[in-house]
């Protein structure tokens, strides 16, 4: 993929360094001259946005941890101490709590992007799988972080979710005790959650490095789903995509700042400004908005164990996508049927998010069930069937050659050659 470009050290020092630790070569090949398809649209900027989100969470998190006290009788007040007495503590804390929401918002868009353009298909299976690992770790990290302020929702959310573990036969009870450090959510739970909440982002960081490494082996997918053929299809990462990514990130930051500065508590639950009280159950226990779709799936079935399995299954199933959707044509742009089912899928996911905040009864329960069925059917039934029966649209020959490839059939895009003008910028 690297064409004929070669990094050449320019001065004495970089020549000396290059022989010993080719750091500059590495940076040059991966960050500056890295050949990138020239037709990437704004959905492809979310990878950069996500990296910035992770960095923001880590930096603000480390500062918070300097003032936060992981003890049930002090945690809540220590957060208020951050908000009121620490210089710019309110800013750091609002950045961190709203940052978590922005992080999830970005990851959802990033994942839907992958689904739409078929980015999980050969040869990018590992990139996708590592992405799902990151997503799982993010969920665990976000969940544990939400427990730290020790508000009513922290406590009761933790109680409800950890209790799910107990539904697993045989090992459920002992695992739950280990997780809680006792028989109920209490000080030992808070301590271990804090410890893990501090650790996991660094684990995520490690997996992100693998994720990007794998990406740089295969190169980016692109909105046509047609593989890069030669250097006519690509432009260098810098300055093209560094600038485009940065632009997109600043737009994202504008939205992020709106929440931080003008509506910092709208994404959280008011009850979390009430200190945890194990004797007082809130009227409705709801998780953070980004976990609502999974919460809706959990409550869609009457059987608790079944609910737990489905909830975890809804993420586990993502690991198998590369082998559930075997259609060679990657991008939904050339798959009229898949496009419709994909849009339905997005709608049902949003619906699940809405339903997660509603009580599981009446019409809400019915809709949760329908959406849950669609969620799984999309992956387990619709994808394999479409892979067999769908007739893709005629495809261009390559990324920089818009002429239609006449012998394109369902193997389209893989054997074809270069392509298509920029579809958006």
């Amino acid at each position: 993929m690297n064409h004929d470009y070669q990094y050449t050290p320019k001065n004495g020092f970089s020549k000396w360094l290059d022989k010993r630790l080719p750091l500059m070569r590495f940076a040059d090949e991966n960050l500056l001259s890295f050949p990138t398809p020239k037709n990437l649209n704004y959905f492809y900027t979310f990878g950069f946005i996500l990296t910035m989100c992770l960095v923001t969470q880590i930096i603000t998190g480390i500062v918070l941890a300097m003032h936060y006290v992981p003890n049930t009788s002090l945690a809540f007040d220590s957060i208020e101490h951050i908000m009121r007495d620490v210089n710019y503590g309110w800013l750091i804390r609002y950045m961190h709590s709203n940052g978590a929401s922005m992080f999830f918002l970005a990851v959802f868009i990033h994942m839907f992007r992958g689904l739409y353009y078929g980015s999980y298909k050969e040869p990018r299976e590992i990139i996708w799988i590592l992405g799902v690992v990151i997503f799982l770790l993010m969920i665990i990290t976000g969940f544990m972080g939400y427990v730290l302020p020790w508000g009513q929702m922290s406590f009761w959310g933790a109680t409800v979710i950890t209790n799910l573990v107990a539904t697993i036969p045989v090992i459920g009870e002992p695992v739950l005790t280990l997780l809680l450090g006792g028989y109920s959510v209490d000080n030992p739970t808070l301590n271990r959650f804090f410890s893990l909440h501090y650790l996991l982002p660094f684990v995520i960081f490690g997996v992100v490095i693998l994720h990007i490494w794998a990406l740089h082996v295969t190169g980016n997918n692109n909105p046509t789903g047609i593989e890069v053929k030669d250097s006519k299809d690509t432009i260098s990462f810098h300055p093209y995509y560094t600038v485009k990514d940065l632009f997109s990130y600043v737009v994202f930051l504008l939205m992020f700042c709106y929440f931080i500065f003008y509506n910092p508590n709208i994404l959280g639950h008011p009850d979390n400004y009430i200190e945890a009280d194990p004797m007082l159950t809130p009227a409705h226990i709801v998780p953070e908005w980004y976990l609502l779709p999974f919460y809706a799936i959990l409550r869609a079935v009457p059987d608790k164990l079944m609910g737990v399995l489905l909830m975890f299954g809804s993420i586990i199933v993502l690991f198998f996508l590369p082998w559930l959707d075997t259609m060679k044509v990657k991008s939904a742009r050339y798959r009229p049927l898949y496009k419709i089912f994909f849009l339905l899928f997005v709608i049902f996911c949003l619906l699940l998010g809405y339903l997660g905040a509603k009580p599981p009864e009446g019409i809400y329960l019915l809709l949760s069930r329908v959406s849950t069925i669609y969620y799984f059917a999309f992956f387990l039934v619709i994808m394999p069937i479409l892979s067999r029966i769908e007739k893709p649209l005629p495809m261009p020959i390559g990324i920089s050659n818009p002429a239609i490839n006449n012998n394109s059939d369902s193997s389209g895009g893989v054997s074809g050659s270069p392509s298509y003008a920029m579809d958006s910028k």
Partner: protein, 259 residues
Amino acid sequence: MNIFKNNIFIFFVLIIGLSMNVNSAEGTTFKNLKPGFSFEGPFGKFDKESLKRGYQVYSEVCSSCHGMKQLSFRNLSQPGGPEFPTEMVKEIASGYSITDGFNEYGEPLERSMLPSDRFPKPYGSKEEAKGANNGAYPPDLSLIVKARLDGYNYLYSLLKGYEEEIPEDMDIGDLSYNPWYPGGAIAMYQPLYEDSVEYEDGTPATVDQMSYDVANFLTWAAEPTMEERKRLGFIVMGFLIIFVILMYLSVSRLFRDVH
């Protein structure tokens, strides 16, 4: 599918979507009154005179049952709050006393409070508080505005919303009827009546005025840094808007020759 390609459009939809609080499922019995407060909106600032009066209402009425453990007297002179003069805050604080430390015989020492001290607690323990209020606990008010949906409008509505007439189909026992309280039956007796306080600045102390002032004060108390937040937000957003325009021009320029 043009819309699908347009991220900016999607951002806006998401902002609007997210702003419609996902948690808005629970409402109070009644729709909150909205008297309109000076701190609302992106440039909102607190009305200092109202904050001062609000503190007076809190300290003369509510503080006999409700604590505010997150606040210290010194906060009252901080910028962005009621901004009482420092001397006055010293005087206010010294009106209360606290047992702090021991003398040489090991007896607890009582001293008058300093600006660095927290607001005094009305009760020694939660149990005592419940005992004195028929088993209901008067919650700490430092965060009450953030702890309720649409907090300050709710507070205002609640305080002036007590009604003598109890609906026929309701049996509320010893409780009071207040249609703004979820369920309608609240353990707090109506705390504010005409002239419950005599305002130092001569403002007539109607129930409406006191409710308004104390709602103002408690909003400030829940987030004393609000003015600072909005001020900084304006600078940051202003910078970002200029930056985003420059970035947009750079992108267009860069990709002009990419076909």
